[in-house]
Amino acid sequence: MTSLDEKFEESKRLGLQIVKESEEDRLMTLSVGPQHPGSGHFRFTIKVDGDYIVYCDPDPGYVHRGEEKMSEYRNFIQNIPHLERPVIHDSTNITYSYSLAVEELVGIEVPRRGQYIRAIASELNRQVYTLYWLAIYGIFLGHSTMFMWPTGDRELFIDLLEALTGARVTHAFNIPGGVRNDMPDGFKDRCLRQVKYFEKRLKEYEDIFYNMPLFRQRTEGVGVLTKEDAIKLGVAGSVLRASGVPYDIRKAEPYDIYNEIDFKVQYMKTGDSFARSYVPFLDMKESCNIIRQLLDKMPQSGEVRAKLQPNPKGPPGEAYRRVESGRGALGYHIISDGTPKPYRVKISVGSFRNMLALPFLLVGQKLADMPSVYWSLNYWPVEADR
């Protein structure tokens, strides 16, 4: 038996044109995105060795809008419509923490009814976002029914939000001091009816998608993020909760009226793609429960927003407030110099934090598992880029 090296030496002696294969020759570089269907405009470069991913480098920025810079040119109220652009599917939550931070800076107290309506809108909007995310997860894995169903059921909540706010997707509903307008008549009954129907649908989702053996095979044990690594990487939201850390801002740091609501933080311990896809589903279930409680406990009448001066401003200072959005903690760090315009706005988003886990999880996976790992990270490219 001659070794490979000896064979190579012999071939050289015989004058044969055999070239030794270097490691680089075996690797193939693939560019995923930026026009990947469904992923949003995000690109990452991967290198594969045969079937396995050995290198991954995210390259965000294709939808960078400079929201933080734009905020410095507009006053606190004018900032609302453009700040919700990064996640139009979750626009109530992304303006929620902004409003909380501005309220802290300016010193406004939100009326109780306003706080409840805010929470209802943000829960409904979380459903809209999660359903959209789930639909794309379905189509990523080639399950087209799971694309159609959530997209259809998402309309229920969009209709509710349309009745509540007047707009289908970008609501600009939360404002410093409360919400823009009161609930329409009969909203409570309509909302309860839709939620009841949706809970029935959730069971069907479970049957057709989460309990399907094929789906389980493609996600269970794939891309495992341990609890220690999740904490070290500082991931947020469902990715964190799927790795066994029961951390939810609604529970950890209750804002507005969330300390009056009885709910459980949903989490799993396995930390694989399945857990990361199942935790948002559990969140949707829990959210239905929260909406019902909110509608029940809400004051029947009263103000929905505090009166604001035309150009609200507070003393120089800074505020950092967070809410739990569909993608985890969403914080605003606002520095004010005493003028009606913020001096600096920093948006701290869950997507940007979860992106750090992407190369960590993809390396060592098969190429075919890439979609199930990538989209389970609950990553929204537009939000990450801001």
Binding site: G61, I231, E253, R322, I335
Partner: protein, 213 residues
């Protein structure tokens, strides 16, 4: 531009009342009669609350945390504010790695949520803030500790915290390209969100102006 002109109305309670009522009238018609009352109480705390904001006694738990840090590092730690659930401390750049290591190992602040860079051209400085939080300590779940340091604006260089907090990797990279702060020891001080051919000053500096504004 016209923003500032409308401000001086604030102290006079009488003129603000009708003007606010007018602006909100179309939005909430049925509530306007009731709305006539709230402006006065709502406007008062807005005017009265801010000044005493800095004075109230710092909450005991948060103060205890700061005392713990101060016991270890003494006067090199400057407390900016201690509020309920929010603490801000400022350190010198050469101390930051040591302080961050202490915060991670002894205080249980196990991850960084975000890194904010702020440009202060008047002081000639750039302030970099690390928002640290804790997933493992339940009593710190609601708390955010802002670890701040300042660097010279003309040649901004700071030691990286990537070896202490892995979670700052992308945040520091973003701060590098948006404010031009070079993180010494960071493996990749390079473009991240901006286009590859970006050939202007870092955009979040105050002397970068949006065109036409």
């Amino acid at each position: 531009m016209s923003d500032n002109k409308e401000e001086p109305k604030k102290p006079a309670a009488a003129p603000t009342k009708p003007s606010t009522a007018k602006t909100t009238a179309p939005a909430a018609k049925p509530t306007t009669p009731a709305a006539a009352k709230p402006p006065a109480p709502a406007a008062k705390p807005a005017a009265a609350a801010p000044p005493p904001k800095k004075e109230p006694e710092p909450p005991a738990f948060e103060k205890g945390l700061v005392d713990e840090i101060k016991k270890k590092f003494g006067d090199s730690i400057k407390t900016v504010f201690i509020r309920p659930r929010r603490i801000k401390i400022q350190v010198e750049p050469h101390d930051i790695t040591e302080v961050a290591t202490f915060l991670r190992d002894s205080m249980g602040l196990d991850h960084a949520e975000s890194v904010t860079g702020t440009d202060y051209p008047k002081d000639g400085q750039i302030e970099v803030t690390y928002h640290l939080g804790s997933y493992s300590r339940e009593d710190l779940g609601a708390h955010v500790l802002s670890l701040t340091t300042r660097t010279n604006r003309d040649d901004p260089k700071l030691p990286t915290l990537i070896n202490v907090y892995k979670s700052v990797e992308y945040h520091e990279r973003e701060t590098f390209e948006m404010l031009g702060v070079y993180f010494e020891g960071h493996p990749r001080n390079e473009r991240f969100l901006l286009p590859e051919d970006w050939a202007d000053i870092p955009p979040l500096r105050k002397d970068f102006r949006i065109k036409g504004r």
